[in-house]
């Protein structure tokens, strides 16, 4: 069984494709409606960030297990300009595009684990996991 599936983000409609995939995976993994909505929304935020700031990238969705725990891991990666100030991005209300500035800190709150690796000029990879409780 292939445990990882991915969607390339190039156009705005790919965001819809990515979260559709996320919703299906979450449903298959046995998450309830609330967690399904959380995972889908998180993917939506991450995919939109790729579309807005990097132009293109991809969203990968993977089932993971850890000590009998079961969950879904989302990896959003791009080769865009990178995030110059990570601390600022994680602050509520900070936005460079005139948006709400709730995306990144929002994803962190929606999910259980959250990790950002970013290098200016080389790209960003965000890894985030939701565990099935």
């Amino acid at each position: 069984m292939d445990l990882r599936s991915s969607v390339e983000i190039i156009t705005e409609w790919d965001i819809v494709a990515a979260r559709q995939l996320g919703r299906n995976e979450a449903k298959k993994a046995g998450f309830g409606t609330v967690d399904q909505a959380r995972i889908t929304t998180a993917i939506s935020e991450l995919a939109r960030n790729i579309y807005l700031y990097a132009g293109k990238g991809k969203i990968e969705i993977e089932r993971v297990t850890d000590n009998g725990k079961f969950g879904i891991k989302i990896i959003a990666s791009d080769e865009g300009p990178g995030i110059p100030d990570l601390r600022k991005v994680m602050e509520d209300g900070f936005s460079t595009s005139g948006g709400l500035g709730a995306g990144m800190p929002g994803v962190k709150r929606l999910m259980d684990e959250f990790k950002v690796a970013s290098e200016t000029g080389a790209g960003t990879t965000i890894t985030t996991t939701k565990w099935l409780h």
Binding site: R19, T41, E45, A102, G103, G106
Partner: protein, 276 residues
């Protein structure tokens, strides 16, 4: 030269078709011919072969009309473009091999035949690709129009109260349309309260929320109040987690509750009357 070639092909059409079908069946991952009944395979193959050979001409100016005819018919077969491409490739290969075996093609006229083949196959392929991509573009743009027709109309329900039901994904383009229709409708319908129903919106992320907040703010500027209704429990939880501030306007769980509140805001209520 092309006459000899056409004659050579026509005389041995059966053999060529048979070889071509065999080769198409050998194609990896291609199940098309295996699923079709044999007599149908035979029939479409013959038709395809006839269409292919009808276009051979060694003049560089290709006969556009005949090519269009070919394309139209091939598109009607309903084959996938990859399959058509393979079919054209294999057909020209088979013909080439056959003519070589028959010694119609030999070392002295190889160059001439190369040019004939190129003038024969390339326009066909170009025309096919063009036809398919035009078809796709048309489909996509039609669906876009259909989607736009579905989106966002403001419905006057009571005097001073209007509802806009939102269904489906909200992208940047639709958000713009929603805003326009909302403001225009509020002014023309003289609405005092507008209910935005998001029951049919599958995901409310920060962008969607941002658009809703902007729309509500704009509605406030034209002198009406905006109410957000149809917030499902799971959406409420994601909005809280995202930290989106919706304190500025009234929210209700369902359209029904929203309507009651809207009537209250315009100093009215629905009452039951006793039946006589």
């Amino acid at each position: 030269m092309d006459k000899i070639m056409v004659e050579g092909i026509n005389k041995n059409m059966d053999e060529i078709i048979e070889r071509w079908i065999r080769r198409m069946k050998e194609e990896k991952g291609e199940r098309f011919f295996h699923f079709m009944p044999d007599h149908l395979v035979e029939k479409t193959s013959r038709e395809f072969a006839e269409l292919m050979t009808s276009n051979i001409s060694d003049s560089s100016a290709a006969n556009t009309e005949r090519i269009n005819d070919f394309t139209e018919k091939v598109v009607r077969f309903g084959w996938a473009i990859k399959f058509v491409n393979k079919a054209i490739d294999n057909f020209s290969d088979v013909v080439y091999e056959f003519l070589e075996e028959q010694e119609i093609i030999n070392e002295s006229n190889l160059r001439t035949f190369n040019i004939i083949f190129r003038n024969w196959i390339n326009p066909l392929r170009e025309s096919i690709i063009d036809a398919y991509s035009t078809e796709w573009e048309r489909t996509v743009s039609l669906q876009k129009i259909a989607l736009q027709e579905l989106s966002a109309s403001l419905i006057p329900v009571f005097d001073k109260i209007s509802v806009m039901p939102l269904v489906g994904t909200i992208d940047t383009e639709r958000a713009k349309l929603i805003m326009e229709n909302l403001l225009e409708g509020v002014v023309s319908q003289r609405a005092e309260v507008v209910l935005l129903d998001i029951t049919g919106v599958p995901v409310v992320d920060t962008m969607v929320a941002h658009h809703i907040i902007q729309a509500a703010e704009a509605v406030r500027l034209v002198g009406a109040k905006c109410m957000l209704v149809g917030i499902r429990p799971e959406i409420a939880q994601t909005i809280v987690a995202l930290g989106i501030n919706l304190h500025e306007f009234t929210t209700k769980s369902t359209l029904q509750r929203g309507m009651q509140a809207a009537l209250g805001m315009t100093n009215r209520a629905i009452v039951e009357v006793e039946a006589n």
